[in-house]
Symmetry: C2
DNA sequence: CCTTGCTCCTGTAGTCGCTACAGGATGCAA
DNA sequence: TTGCATCCTGTAGCGACTACAGGAGCAAGG
């Protein structure tokens, strides 16, 4: 018996788990409170003792968070990831819905990017009487701003910013 | 007395102001509480009475929010927009910093988009033994996922999604 | 044995920008 | 007068954490 079954070589403290996964200690405790991560057994002194299973789950959560999935989506994904967790199709649906929202966000941000960069470029062109940024914010209707700004020919300064 | 000086034709209730600017009533009151919008005078019965100045300020705030500026940035912009509010350069700096963060977000989201769309496409290709999405989430290191996924040749399914 | 210093514990409150009530008062028309 | 829309204040909730306060556990050095 080189290894007694109960002597688990992979016992991890919360600090080690944090270092191993890159998830803050407070966040790990938060995940336990909202039941994202199962509550681990405790040591004699009341400290949490994690194992390789917890580590895998937390790494999964972290990767999904990095990809922008919500904690609710991840909860569902974790259920589907368990052996016997039904179909790949459901997982794909969640991922596809998320991909859709990522694409929406990109589209919105690119509209903002266009408005901001063109307006700032006008500033750089240096109309001395008024500030192009403030002018844009003061115009009565944002949709008209988009139209007006988008129809303007790009100036030299556009490429610099 | 067709028009007594004090009978201001532009007095607006909070509901009208909401309709005119597209900002929810609760949000207007919230802006007052956090001192984004000056507290207006009140009617005999305690109701808020706004004027064209409030309307302009609130429209400014709304446009800036639509462009993704934080309320703190907008507070600063409002200070700079007031007559004698120093220089256009400061306004441009705030806008440029914001533009930078918008571009960072776009870059991040486009990385996510690439990972998600390629992984989902692998799923659609139909490896029957395991789910490509779950596999990706379970791999130990997200950075390696990015590398692995990005170096994969796009399959036919990539173009469909 | 005692101190030092690190890690850990619980619990609460703060972040951002709202949103959603509860429980009441006001104001106007039929 | 009744009914209804609108308004008021105040508080709590959202998502996903983050930042304390105030204490306890634990190993090493003196």
């Amino acid at each position: 018996m080189a290894a007694v079954p109960d002597a688990r070589s992979e016992d991890i403290s919360i600090g080690e788990l944090s270092r191993l996964t890159g998830v803050h200690v407070e966040t790990i405790r938060y995940y336990e409170k909202i039941e994202m991560l199962p509550a681990p057994p405790r040591s004699h002194g009341g400290r949490r003792i994690y194992d390789a299973g917890h580590r895998r789950t937390l790494a999964f959560i972290r990767h999904a968070r990095e990809l922008g999935f919500t904690l609710d989506e991840i909860r569902t994904l974790l259920g589907l990831a368990r052996p016997g967790g039904t179909s790949c199709a459901q997982v794909r649906d969640i991922a596809a819905a998320h991909l859709g929202s990522v694409r929406d966000k990109i589209a919105n941000l690119m509209r903002l990017e266009a408005i901001l960069s063109r307006t700032i470029a006008q500033c750089a062109d240096g109309a001395p009487t008024s500030c192009a940024v403030l002018d844009m914010l003061e115009t009565p209707d944002a949709a008209s701003v988009v139209r007006r700004v988008m129809s303007k020919k790009p100036s030299r300064a556009d490429r610099k910013i």
